[in-house]
């Protein structure tokens, strides 16, 4: 007979193999979190912004990856470059604004340059040091400008104009295409046909681990959270959508045709669906370690997760349409985006409520517990193979077993063998 459990029973492993659950400390432990910044976020390609956020020569954006301050510039040659936003002189952060233009000079600097406010060293859009104040007086001929350029980072504009940065010069993934391992192909024709433009941006700082948000994007079993999904969205083709894994921990959620006529107050998106996308189709791409691309017919959403602590994540939400949109088309895309995904839309706040509740139970130093992802449903969207695929990759990068992070990682088949050995 089913009954509740005491502490000993509660803490026992579930009747699953070790790839079907994780130890909750991977969502809350401070040491594991710091290790993730070093072993994962400082090594992965991250789409930090979109090129339409810096459309003109001398525009810039600043972001962080794994707490490292980064500045992206657009040069006179219109090329986007990324640098550590750190002065080589005294380690001060050079640019403090989130975005803007270097076209006009700052109080201590000149037009078309980045200037460190501290001692007025200046750098051009290619990261070259072009001015050291009282250089000869202080450094004589001992320090030359070419010895103190900014630290340039690997940077690529790829996949519909997203700006990707990688902190690791020695990454085995020379290009974003290699890093994506085929996971972007399902949407690439739709995003690369013509220039895109960000029309919506907001960010949320949520008290939960970044992976919990990524999980909500990877599993659709939580349709039960979304009242409207249940009463309007389900049909056989919905449940037949496939979850597909790609190398490097990325996944796709396969498309189906959404019948927006079933959604009260919603219109078909067929007329302004993205190029090459079958009308009203809906693809999702979840990239390791914390990026989501979500195209619902007419409107593209991108979530970028920046982990701030074991139980704190900043999520930046972007909505994108075609740069060529006329005013009415753009307005429709914005409505389509906001009605589901805006901060006051139909689904987004429900997802945020769920992960906030998880965060409350998985705070740092919380007792370890098991978090299950053991559903097998023919790799369709209520299967949890997407999360299993993610955590296998996570274990590989961290050399920790997600189900027992004090143990080293075991490749998939070995997990099952170990589970059998433990049981016998």
């Amino acid at each position: 007979m089913a009954r509740s459990r005491n502490h000993e029973e509660w803490t026992k492993p579930p009747p699953f193999t070790q790839d079907e659950y994780v130890d909750s400390r991977i969502y809350s432990d401070e040491d594991i979190f710091e290790e993730e910044l070093d072993k994962i976020f400082k090594k992965a390609w991250i789409p930090v912004c979109h090129e339409s956020e810096m459309p003109n020569a001398y525009d810039f954006r600043t972001v962080t990856i794994a707490r490292e301050p980064i500045v992206m510039t657009r040069g006179k040659d219109m090329k986007v470059r990324a640098f550590l936003n750190v002065c080589p002189h005294r380690g001060n952060m050079i640019e403090r604004r989130p975005s803007g233009s270097f076209l006009e000079g700052s109080p201590s600097g000149n037009p078309r340059h980045m200037t460190c406010m501290f001692h007025a060293w200046q750098f051009d859009m290619k990261g070259r040091c072009v001015y050291i104040s009282r250089q000869e007086e202080g450094y004589q001929d001992r320090l030359k400008k070419q010895q103190v350029g900014l630290r340039e980072l690997k940077c690529e504009v790829y996949f519909g104009g997203f700006v990707w940065v990688c902190l690791d010069d020695n990454t085995p993934f020379e290009t974003v295409e290699q890093w994506s391992a085929g996971s972007l192909e399902c949407l690439k024709p739709s995003l690369d046909e013509e220039p895109l433009e960000v029309f919506h941006y907001h960010k949320a700082i949520i008290p939960c681990n970044y992976k919990l948000w990524h999980d909500t994007n990877c599993e659709f079993y939580h349709d039960y959270l979304h009242y409207h999904n249940r009463i309007t969205g389900f049909n056989d083709s919905y449940f037949a959508r496939k979850n597909m894994g790609f190398d490097n921990g990325h996944i796709n959620v396969g498309s189906f045709e959404v019948n927006y006529d079933n959604y009260e107050g919603f219109d078909s998106r067929a007329a302004i669906s993205f190029p090459h996308l079958p009308p009203n189709h809906w693809y999702m791409i979840d990239m390791f370690p914390g990026v989501n691309f979500n195209l619902r017919g007419s409107s593209l959403r991108c979530d970028l997760m920046t982990p701030l602590g074991p139980d704190k994540v900043m999520i930046e939400f972007r909505g994108l349409g075609l740069k060529s949109d006329d005013e009415a088309t753009r307005q429709s895309r914005i409505e389509h985006h906001n009605s589901i995904w805006g901060p006051f839309g139909r689904n987004l706040h429900e997802d945020l409520l769920a992960v906030t509740g998880q965060g409350a139970s998985m705070h740092p130093r919380a007792e370890r517990r098991q978090i299950l992802h053991g559903r097998h449903e023919n790799e369709t969207i209520h299967d949890e193979n997407g999360m299993r695929h993610f955590y296998e990759e996570w274990g590989r990068w961290m050399d920790r077993l997600p189900a027992d992070p004090d143990q080293p990682f075991l490749e998939g088949d070995n997990i099952k063998k170990a589970a059998v050995a433990a049981a016998t």
């Binding site: 006179k76 201590s108 000149n110 037009p111 051009d124 001015y131 104040s133 400008k145």
Partner: protein, 117 residues
């Protein structure tokens, strides 16, 4: 020759500078006491707008960003300045200051030159 009227002679006070726009070209006009001079509007060092950073004293113009200085009459560099100021031909006639705008004068900032250290 393409002489253009920039301003009247009483618009620029003695030993001071003022910025004018002539057919979309920015011209910095200086009154040097017994005459006028006209320069491109930016410092030849790092493009600083001289109308904001420039100070006139003792016949010299100083860009306060990095203290480059010039003789206002000749444009010759003084102190740490490494480049001359460019001067337009200028004349005062019938209470008007005229500048020969045959060609807009611009400094070469070598932005894309990789060997400019």
């Amino acid at each position: 020759m393409s002489w253009k009227t920039v301003c009247s002679t009483d618009e620029v006070g003695e030993h001071s500078i003022k910025l004018f726009d002539v057919d979309g070209v920015s011209i910095l006009v200086a009154n040097v006491g017994d005459g006028f001079r006209a320069y491109p509007p930016v410092c030849p060092h790092m493009e600083e707008p001289l109308i904001e950073s420039g100070i006139c004293a003792n016949g010299q113009l100083t860009c306060t960003k990095h203290l480059w200085q010039w003789d206002m009459r000749t444009g010759e560099p003084k102190g740490p300045a490494e480049k001359c100021m460019l001067l337009y031909e200028v004349k005062a006639e019938n209470g008007q200051v005229l500048v020969n705008l045959e060609q807009e004068l611009e400094y070469d900032f070598d932005e894309d030159d990789d060997d400019d250290y």
